[in-house]
Symmetry: C2
Subunit: 139 residues, 2 copies
C-alpha cells in the first residue's frame, strides 16, 4: 500500500501555482485538462521527492471554498527554513507563524490551506528578524 497524493481544490489555478511552485518551491510534474468535465488537474511534488504528490483540482466553473477546519495542513521538511521564509516574505507571502525557534513555520495557500515548514535536522540558531517576529492571524 502506498501513499500517492493529497488532493486540494483551488479557486484560482494561476494564483495557486504561483504560491506552490514559484514561492514554495514545489515542481509541476504533469497536468491534465479535461474539456468534457471542465476541470484541470495539476500534480506537484517537492524537488527530490517525486513519490508524494499534491494534486490541485481546478474546476472551470467557479465554486466557493471555505476552508474546513478538519483539514489541517500539508507539511514539508526543508533544508533552510530561514532562507525559504525570507524568499516567501519577499514574494509577498504572510508568514503566519514565523520560525522563531529555527524549527517550524506556517504559511497559507491562496485558498487558506495551511502549509507547515519544518527545518531538517536540528533547529537553526535563533536569528533576526525571525526571533522577534509575531504571529499573524491563524493557520
Amino acid at each position: 500500500m502506498k501513499y500517492l497524493h493529497t488532493m486540494l481544490r483551488v479557486s484560482d489555478l494561476d494564483a495557486s501555482l504561483d504560491f506552490f511552485c514559484n514561492k514554495l518551491g514545489l515542481v509541476e510534474r504533469r497536468r491534465k485538462d479535461n474539456d468534457k468535465g471542465r476541470f484541470t488537474l495539476v500534480f506537484l511534488s517537492a524537488p527530490g521527492d517525486e513519490a508524494a504528490e499534491v494534486e490541485l483540482t481546478y474546476n472551470w466553473d467557479p465554486e466557493v471554498y471555505t476552508g474546513g477546519r478538519n483539514f489541517g495542513h500539508l507539511a514539508y521538511r526543508v533544508g533552510d527554513i530561514y532562507a525559504l521564509c525570507q524568499r516567501l516574505l519577499e514574494a509577498g507571502v504572510t508568514i503566519h507563524r514565523p520560525p522563531r525557534d529555527g524549527h517550524m513555520a506556517f504559511v497559507r495557500s491562496p485558498d487558506g490551506i495551511s502549509v507547515e515548514l519544518l527545518q531538517a535536522g536540528d533547529p537553526l540558531p535563533p536569528a533576526e528578524p525571525w526571533s522577534s517576529m509575531p504571529n499573524v492571524g491563524s493557520w
Copy 2:
C-alpha cells in the same frame, strides 16, 4: 525538500483509528499525548511506505468539523482493490464509489474525509458484485 504528512483533525479518535487502521489498513507509527495543550497526535502510514504519513489531531475539547470542499481526498495505491473493498464492506464501511472499473474506489472517514483507492498496475478484470454496484452519495 520532502513531503512529511497531511494533517487531519478528527472528532472521535477511536472511530478514526478504527477506520484508518482496522478497516483501511494503515499502521499507527507513533503517538503524542499533550496534557497541557489537551490534544493527542497520532501518526499513521501505509504498510511498506513509512515515509508519507497522515497525522490525526484529536482535540480533547470537542470541535465541530464540517468538511470543507476544498480539501479533496487522500489517495492510496493498493494491491487488490476488490479484496480491500470487500473487507471494508464487511466492516460496515460505505463504498461511495465502488470499483466498477477494477481501478478506482472512494470511501470516507468518520469525519467525511474522502479516501481514494487506486489499483496498482493494470485495472482488474470486471467482477461482481462491483460491476453492477451503484454509487452512494458523494465523496
